[in-house]
């Protein structure tokens, strides 16, 4: 791996922040310049994200493009980033979405332009950081840091009820994540030996793995009195609670039924850009959190609650769909459709079979693309009319043909018509669910959700676009302009390409899927995904990208000591026969699964 | 426990300052005769009862001036008890500083402000009742705690040299200026701060 590669993710994460710093200096009134600069920043970030994705696809190890730097060695917090298949895909999605978000709000936001774009750029950094973090606390920091700009996006640039919605969003997420913080600290103490406590993902995972096995074996034996190692005993006792805390935090973010109630408000009140980011990327943090943290760290507990998770997911699917049928507000409808769609993602995760997990991951991307596009498109007419009710529209097909065409294509993707990306994701999830050990009714109900989904989306399309033009105001609407078309087309391309040629993406995802399933089930392969902690100090303390890498600067009065924390980490973690700090965790994944 | 320490000990003595320094009272209690009150015991009880009553007077008297006078009385009686406790230096200080300086300050302020208190002296509310109850509970606990204490035999007092120097100005001074240097300096800082603070706060305008 070249030294460029090892720093690539830093650029991906912090490029928006650097641009934000530049933006900070720009005068307030140069709105054009501000928009252009933000757009360029997002383009650069998108390019970097694509580059990272391409570089990722070449490597064999599980976590690639890793970068490690000591941050607060006293508490075992390090700056450690790296991506696996799913993270790479989500980074790609986030990167591509960035410039589109800026374009989408080009004219929508006229007030406090500078602050708006600052918030978006900071948000981008936080999201990229959360996706790339390989350190639990680092992830938590980025996870929380996402809240502030999003809170401001909703609260300052949203619609009428924005303050309430913003507060609700913030508090819901915060409560969950604070509980997660307690659990995270618990994990940290359980998993890593005293004196060498570390928040590093790999260290924590490796520390817990043995305990998880013992617990699973103990549960299988049905024995109350199995002799357990201290780690296993702690896991036996607190594992379910900790899993619960992690699961709650992520379930709120997903959002799963019944903690979804913040989402419709947040989506309804948020500006277009806010809705797009929220739907496309931020909700994925929840599923991603399950994928990366909640399930692999506590497989025993996850298995215990597998059915409960799946049930909640299915309830979410059906409930979301039913709520959609009852909505009169279009944005609310799209928001509830998110609840439904993310139910599939959660179902896929809970099923713990390779197909379902792959489908779940794919569905995360799909949902990002299709719901993002839906919010974008709706934002366009909202900008023209500033009303959100279904009854305010009707017969738009006659007035805005291009818009209608786009909208319908996106709707197809959303209802999973074969040939679009949505189909592949949902199909895989359902297939995997039927193959899993979950009871049959779960799959059946989930299939029902597909039918309902088609029903509400098509009903909405019918009401909004077809039939006579019912409102006078709607007759004068002009169709999309060039900027709007340019914003939408990438989405359409993604929908079609992901629908017709999913294999490249699936290949990347599947590398992670297999490991996820092995970890979740502690199956025969579960010994394989032993992670190696990257502890090699950064090759040279080369100048970091401006303000980017929080490396530990030793104070002047610091005694010259050979960084004990680093040594501490090094000793136990690197196995003597590993010449390289990052071991490949598995041979290159060969495509397996449904395709 | 004050009562036991002073009153019921077989060879308790009063250790008086100045010319009476070596006036030793005879042991007053014998093992085979019923206990009698020794003079210092009587004195103690007189002072103790007077202290408690005058202290109660501070709390219940309505007129602030009466309260203040009652407080002065308390301080005097306390000084008497201090003497009985062989702490004549502190007793002298008590009279000088408390009764002489602090109380004059109090009276001065009361006169200066010519406070005439109207209305009831004590106005009970829920929180105050709670406070009173807490106080009573604390009193009960403290009484219980003191009751449990063993009576001291004052064995150290058999050493006349120690007894002679105990509580004397010389001894107090010697200890204070050698061992207690740091707190002493801290007190000097405190007094400086208090002077500055009092002047600053009491000025009519900045």
């Amino acid at each position: 791996m070249s030294s460029y590669d090892s720093r690539l993710l830093n650029f991906v994460i912090f490029a928006p922040l650097v641009f934000a710093a530049v933006l900070f200096i720009l005068p307030k009134n140069e709105k054009g310049q501000i928009r252009a600069l933000t757009f360029i920043a997002m383009l650069v970030d998108a390019a970097l994200a694509i580059w990272a994705y391409v570089r990722f696809a070449e490597g064999p190890a599980e976590f690639r493009l890793e970068y490690w730097a000591s941050w607060v060695p006293e508490i075992g917090l390090s700056y450690h980033v790296g991506i696996d298949g799913i993270a790479a895909s989500l980074v790609l999605l986030t990167g591509i979405l960035g410039p589109l978000v800026v374009l989408a709000s080009w004219t929508f936001v006229q007030d406090k332009v500078k602050e708006f774009h600052l918030a978006i750029l900071i948000l981008q950094t936080a999201m990229m950081g959360a996706l790339c973090s390989l350190d639990l606390l680092l992830f938590y920091i980025f996870f929380e840091a996402m809240l502030i700009p999003m809170y401001l996006l909703i609260g300052v640039w949203g619609s009428e009820e924005r303050q309430m919605a913003a507060m609700k969003f913030f508090l819901y997420t915060l409560v969950g994540s604070l509980l997660m913080l307690v659990a995270l600290l618990g994990v940290y103490f359980i998993a890593t030996p005293a004196g060498q406590h570390s928040f590093d993902y790999a260290a924590v995972y490796n520390g817990l793995l043995g305990g998880s096995r013992e617990v699973a074996a103990c549960v299988k034996a049905g024995g109350e009195n199995c002799s357990l190692s201290p780690v296993a005993a702690a896991l036996m006792r607190y594992g379910p609670w900790m899993f619960g805390a992690f699961a709650l935090a992520f379930a709120i973010k997903v959002p799963m039924w019944p903690v979804h109630t913040w989402l419709p408000d947040a989506h309804t009140q948020a500006p277009v850009a806010g809705s797009m980011i929220l739907a496309a990327v931020m909700l994925k943090m929840g599923t991603f959190g399950f994928w990366r943290f909640a399930v692999p760290l506590f497989p025993a507990a996850a298995q215990k609650y597998q059915l409960a998770l799946a049930t909640l997911a299915v309830i979410g699917i059906v409930y979301g769909a039913l709520m959609c049928l009852a909505q009169r507000d279009i944005k609310r409808l799209i928001a509830y459709s998110s609840v439904s769609h993310l139910g599939y993602c959660m179902l896929g995760l809970a099923a713990m079979t390779p197909e379902a997990a792959t489908g779940s991951a794919y569905q995360m991307l799909n949902h990002g693309v299709s719901t993002g596009a839906l919010f974008l498109l709706f934002g366009m007419i909202y900008e023209r009319r500033h009303v959100r009710l279904l009854s305010d529209y009707g017969g738009l097909a006659k007035v805005m043909p291009i818009f209608t065409a786009f909208f319908v294509i996106v709707t197809f993707s959303s209802v999973a018509v074969p040939g679009t990306n949505g189909f592949i994701g949902e199909f895989l999830v359902l297939l995997g669910t039927f193959n899993s050990k979950l009871p049959l009714w779960v799959g059946v109900l989930a299939s029902l959700g597909v039918v309902l989904g088609a029903a509400y989306m098509l009903l909405m399309v019918q009401k909004v676009f077809f039939g006579p033009v019912t409102r006078k105001e709607n007759q004068q609407l002009h169709d999309l302009n060039l900027r709007e078309i340019a914003t939408t087309v990438p989405f359409l391309i993604l929908i079609v390409v992901m629908g017709l040629r999913p294999q490249p993406l699936l290949t990347v995802i599947e590398q992670s899927t297999r490991r996820y399933v092995a970890r979740a089930t502690l199956g025969p392969e579960s010994s394989e995904p032993q992670l190696q902690v990257k502890t090699r100090p950064p090759p040279t303390p080369a100048p970091a990208p401006a303000g980017a890498i929080p490396s530990l600067k030793l104070g002047e009065n610091e005694a010259p000591k050979p960084s004990p924390a680093r040594d501490r980490l090094l000793r136990p973690m690197i196995s003597p026969n590993s010449p390289r700090p990052v071991l490949m965790a598995a041979p290159p994944a060969n495509a397996q699964g449904a395709h | 426990m004050v009562v036991d320490v002073v009153g019921f000990l077989p060879h308790a003595t009063i250790h008086l300052p100045g010319p009476f320094r070596y006036l030793w009272l005879q042991p007053i209690c014998c093992a085979n005769s019923p206990p009698r009150m020794s003079p210092e015991q009587i004195l103690f009880w007189v002072f103790a009862v007077a202290t408690v009553f005058s202290a109660l007077g501070v709390v219940v008297l309505k007129n602030p001036i009466a309260s203040a006078m009652s407080l002065v009385a308390t301080f005097f009686f306390l000084a008497g008890i201090y003497v009985l406790l062989w702490a004549h230096t502190v007793a002298a200080l008590q009279v000088l500083v408390y009764a002489g300086a602090i109380m004059v300050l109090f009276l001065f302020v009361i006169m200066l402000l010519s406070i005439n208190d109207v209305g009831p002296a004590v106005q009970l509310s829920f929180s105050r009742l709670l406070g009173a109850v807490a106080t009573a509970a604390l009193l009960a606990a403290l009484v219980l705690a003191f009751r449990k204490l063993p009576t001291s035999d004052l064995a150290w007092a058999n050493d006349p040299a120690r007894l002679a120097s105990f509580g004397s100005i010389k001894e107090v001074g010697a200890i204070m200026y050698t061992q207690w240097l740091f707190p002493f300096e801290a007190v000097s800082l405190l007094l400086l701060v208090a002077i500055v603070g009092a002047v600053v706060v009491a000025k009519s305008r900045i």
């Binding site: - | 501070v58 200080l93 302020v109």
Partner: protein, 92 residues
């Protein structure tokens, strides 16, 4: 035990009296109770520490009295009363 009684009388006074000056006097009572305790135990053990402590406490009481009375004067100047009930104007 006398000290305890004295202390509690003082505490009671602080908690129930309305006149600021009297409350202040009650605090002085509490300090004296501490003094008495120190001295009693000092005699008990033949240990001069209690005497020194009492000495310091008297000094502290004097300092406190100076500033405290200054504050009472300030309160009286701005309000015309030293009644605690009437000084409670800030809402909770």
């Amino acid at each position: 035990m006398l000290a305890a009684a004295l202390f509690c009388i003082g505490m009671l006074g602080v908690l129930v009296r309305r006149n600021a000056l009297v409350v202040f006097m009650c605090i002085e009572l509490m300090l004296n109770a501490a003094n008495l305790t120190f001295l009693a135990f000092a005699r008990d053990r033949g240990d001069m520490t209690g005497h020194i402590s009492a000495f310091f406490i008297i000094a502290v009481a004097a300092a406190e009295a100076a500033v405290g009375l200054a504050i009472v004067i300030a309160v009286f100047r701005s309000r015309g009363t030293v009644n605690i009930e009437e000084i409670q104007t800030m809402k909770h």
